[in-house]
């Protein structure tokens, strides 16, 4: 079973390499695509990318861990990312944060037991004038209050 999955992953990466090339600078688009398709970039996928681009696996790992939107571990189906930077913070992020934690029953950095939600902080995403703001996957929600945030999350449940 694992073998079949791994072969499929190898094929997928080969296809991505065909599309983006096999030079170092193809690394980002390739791993972004894997992230989108699988919600994570497994250690096997990282090593396959490294092999095909002729870089070291640890370099791929360095890139994956550098960016918040890439992950080497599985995450929930919906990734809730709340902005923690100063404008949102001053607009009331703290109360929203507590409400989200209560609603989902997890703390920041955790994933719900049913693998549906992961909760994370992010830094400013340019919505400062409409804070507090958050992302659910790639949807933006602004001017959050402890009430609206619960409503929004319940739509994803």
């Amino acid at each position: 079973m694992i073998d079949i999955k791994q072969n499929a992953m190898t094929e997928e990466i080969e296809m991505l390499v065909g599309k983006f090339g096999s030079t170092r600078d193809a690394l980002m688009p390739i791993i972004q695509n894997i992230q989108i398709n699988h919600g994570m970039i497994s250690d096997f996928a990282q090593q396959e990318v490294a092999r095909m681009l002729d870089v070291h696996p640890v370099e791929v790992y360095g890139v994956v861990t550098f960016y918040s939107f890439l992950s080497e571990t599985p995450k929930g189906r919906y990734i809730v990312r709340l902005c923690r930077t100063i404008s949102c913070d001053m607009a009331g992020k703290e109360a929203v944060a507590r409400a989200v934690e209560r609603e989902l029953g997890i703390r920041f950095g955790e994933t719900t037991a049913d693998n549906k939600f992961s909760l994370e902080y992010i830094n400013c995403m340019g919505m400062c004038d409409q804070g507090p703001s958050m992302l659910v996957n790639d949807l933006v929600f602004t001017k959050l209050t402890p009430h609206t945030v619960v409503d929004i999350l319940s739509k994803f449940k």
Partner: protein, 625 residues
């Protein structure tokens, strides 16, 4: 899939040092600059840091290292350049026009102190309980800048666990200042690629793939990262406490063997200039410390030459005369355990090319616990063998499970040059002041051929001195036996020796050019292996590979710091000592003749040799599971 060939991963912007500099006599090659108000002339493309060092102007640095590509990440080398709004990193600033530099202005001093305070605010450690105490670049800077308090606080609790998984390298990331020298060493200099930074900002940590223990990744244990780390974040796995224990135990017979390279470098640990040979003082020190016997690894280096040279001649015969398809040529040397692990990981399908000879360290261990134990009627279970090595990979090697052909663990401990120096200090001795002492019999007198194993090209030179004479009956046709094409620090060397007027039993070699190559540092080994894979080396017979830049004398257990200059000095010391020795060919070492007469009676590569002196390798591959 087409692959492009990359010689270095660093972007061009980071490599001004490798920018070809103009010939100094060319018109417009130099530029006049001003440093601290004084005029200087430098070649275009020189960095400010280089210009300052050439002119004895002190500028501190941390992330800069002569052996490595530039990073410009630590910012302690900042200087003021007139006309530029911000301070500039001297190490990465190439001079291309007339600039005015200030290295000591108030702004510079304050900025450097600030940078330093920030580093210390994330640095966990108390210098007196640290093995780099007295030889730490961070500590030195703190002294230079008179740090007497922690402006931005100090780490009181560990953030990370110490990684002690490896037999060779211990990683304590709480002492890391993120200079990334180890990363550049492992990726660019050695091209192994074990270490990189993960995460970012204040969560940045230097680590391995998936944060795994070092023992579980493809580290080859070369220790080159240790030699280039400015702090105590990386160190070798130190067995000296256990060694003190066996020395203090009267029931144990503790035997120490010393490799050729430590003696050419250990003086540096005691403040002597690089290239001061300490062979005989070291013998005295080892006796005073309490080792029962002090032997010379050069003896088994000679033995290696006999075995490996014979193996080569046998392979040549099988290949050239018998047309045996299972015999692989070129024969690759096998005395560098870092190289062995490298080829096991990266070229697992090419292990048949390796000589089956154990390294001199391991040969010594098995000879001590068999032949020596029998001749001296000592129970081998009471013998403890210690090996002083310039190398951290030797610690891994002696722990390889197959290294027990004497029936016991052949070599109990690998001790680095640095750790031995520490033991000597602990014994209250100052090495340079000690009277000279001799090695013990019977494994004391070795030939110069064994000695030059320490430098890149040395094994090849030693092998040629013996093989040529074995085949032709005459010494190698080089003045004073100095086979100059084997020497020097070019990454990959290639040369050949013509075999003429050979003895009748070697008639198939008449007129043959013996072609050989020498590579040092795994990055160069990789180049050679890539040619081998492409089938370009079919005319080559013998390749010497050492994992460390410069060969063993640049090993991961040698005194810190290291630089091309220091390695050159160490090599000079080794070649000088060789030139002065009465016996300079392995096969003329009387103890070698003796051991083949008394013990290994079926000769080199015979049955007993195979059992005790040869080994096999493991196909490891590079997939990290």
């Amino acid at each position: 899939m087409d692959k492009i060939v990359k010689d270095n991963r660093a972007p061009v912007s980071q490599k001004p040092l490798t920018m070809p500099k103009p010939d100094k006599d060319a018109i417009g090659a130099t530029v006049g600059i001003e440093i601290n108000g004084n005029p200087y002339k430098v070649l275009i493309g020189t960095t400010i840091l280089e210009a300052c060092r050439q002119n004895n102007i002190h500028v501190p640095s941390l992330c800069y290292h002569e052996d490595l590509c530039l990073a410009g990440v630590c910012r302690v080398c900042v200087v003021e350049v007139e006309g530029m709004g911000t301070l500039q990193a001297a190490c990465t600033f190439p001079i291309i026009n007339k600039i005015k530099v200030r290295t000591t202005s108030e702004k510079v001093r304050k900025a450097r102190r600030h940078v330093l305070d920030l580093m210390l605010s994330e640095h966990y450690g108390e210098c007196y309980s640290c093995h780099r105490n007295g030889n730490c670049e961070l500590q030195k800077l703190a002294k230079e800048y008179g740090v007497d308090s922690y402006k931005f606080g100090h780490v009181e609790k560990r953030r990370y666990q110490i990684d002690r998984s490896s037999y060779s390298v211990v990683r304590d990331m709480d002492k890391c200042i993120l200079c990334k020298r180890c990363v550049r060493t492992c990726i660019d200099l050695q091209e192994v690629g074990v270490l990189e930074a993960k995460n970012r900002g204040n969560n940045t940590k230097i680590t391995t793939f998936m944060d795994k223990p070092l023992a579980d990744v493809i580290c080859i244990n070369c220790g080159q990262c240790i030699n280039r780390c400015p702090t105590a974040a990386l160190k070798a796995n130190d067995p000296s406490d256990e060694i003190w224990n066996v020395i203090d135990d009267p029931s144990k017979h503790v035997v120490i063997q010393t490799a050729p390279s430590p003696r050419a470098a250990i003086g540096e640990e005691f403040g002597l200039p690089p290239g001061t040979s300490m062979t005989y003082q070291m013998n005295t020190a080892l006796k005073m410390i309490g080792f029962d016997k002090v032997f010379d690894t050069d003896f088994t280096a000679d033995l290696t030459i006999m075995e490996e040279g014979t193996e080569l001649l046998m392979r040549l015969k099988k290949k050239l005369v018998d047309g045996d398809k299972n015999v692989m040529l070129p024969q690759l040397t096998s005395c560098s355990p870092g190289w062995i692990k490298y080829i096991e990981h990266f070229y697992p399908d090419y292990l048949d090319y390796l000589s089956t000879c154990k390294s001199p360290q391991q040969m010594f261990g098995s000879v001590i616990k068999t032949f020596y134990a029998k001749e001296h009627e000592i129970d081998p279970s009471n013998i403890v063998t210690v090996a002083v090595m310039p190398c951290s990979a030797k610690k891994f090697e002696c722990n390889r499970p197959e290294m027990d052909s004497s029936g016991f663990k052949d070599v109990d401990y690998g001790l680095t040059t640095r750790e031995l120096a520490q033991m000597i200090r602990e014994a209250g001795l100052y090495l340079p002041d000690l009277p000279p002492g001799n090695f013990d019999d019977p494994f004391g007198d070795a030939s110069g051929a064994g000695l030059i194993f320490g430098a890149t090209g040395g094994v090849m030179e030693a092998a040629l001195r013996t093989a040529y004479e074995l085949v032709t009956g005459r010494p190698v046709p080089f003045e004073n036996l100095d086979i100059i094409p084997c020497r020097g620090f070019d990454g990959v060397k290639q040369a050949s020796v013509k075999l003429e007027k050979v003895k009748p039993e070697w008639s198939f070699l008449e007129g043959v050019d013996l072609n050989f190559m020498i590579a040092h540092g795994t990055a160069n080994a990789k180049k050679v292996m890539e040619s081998l894979v492409r089938g370009e080396l079919s005319n080559i017979h013998f390749i010497e590979v050492m994992a460390c830049p410069g060969g063993c004398l640049g090993g991961g257990g040698q005194p810190i710091p290291t630089s091309p200059e220091i390695r050159k000095k160490r090599a000079e010391a080794i070649y000088q000592e060789d030139a002065g020795l009465p016996v300079r060919k392995s096969h003329e070492n009387p103890h070698i003749t003796y051991i083949y007469e008394k013990f290994l009676t079926d000769g080199p590569c015979g049955h007993l040799s195979h059992k005790l002196l040869h080994t096999q390798y493991v196909k490891r591959g590079k997939f990290i599971g």
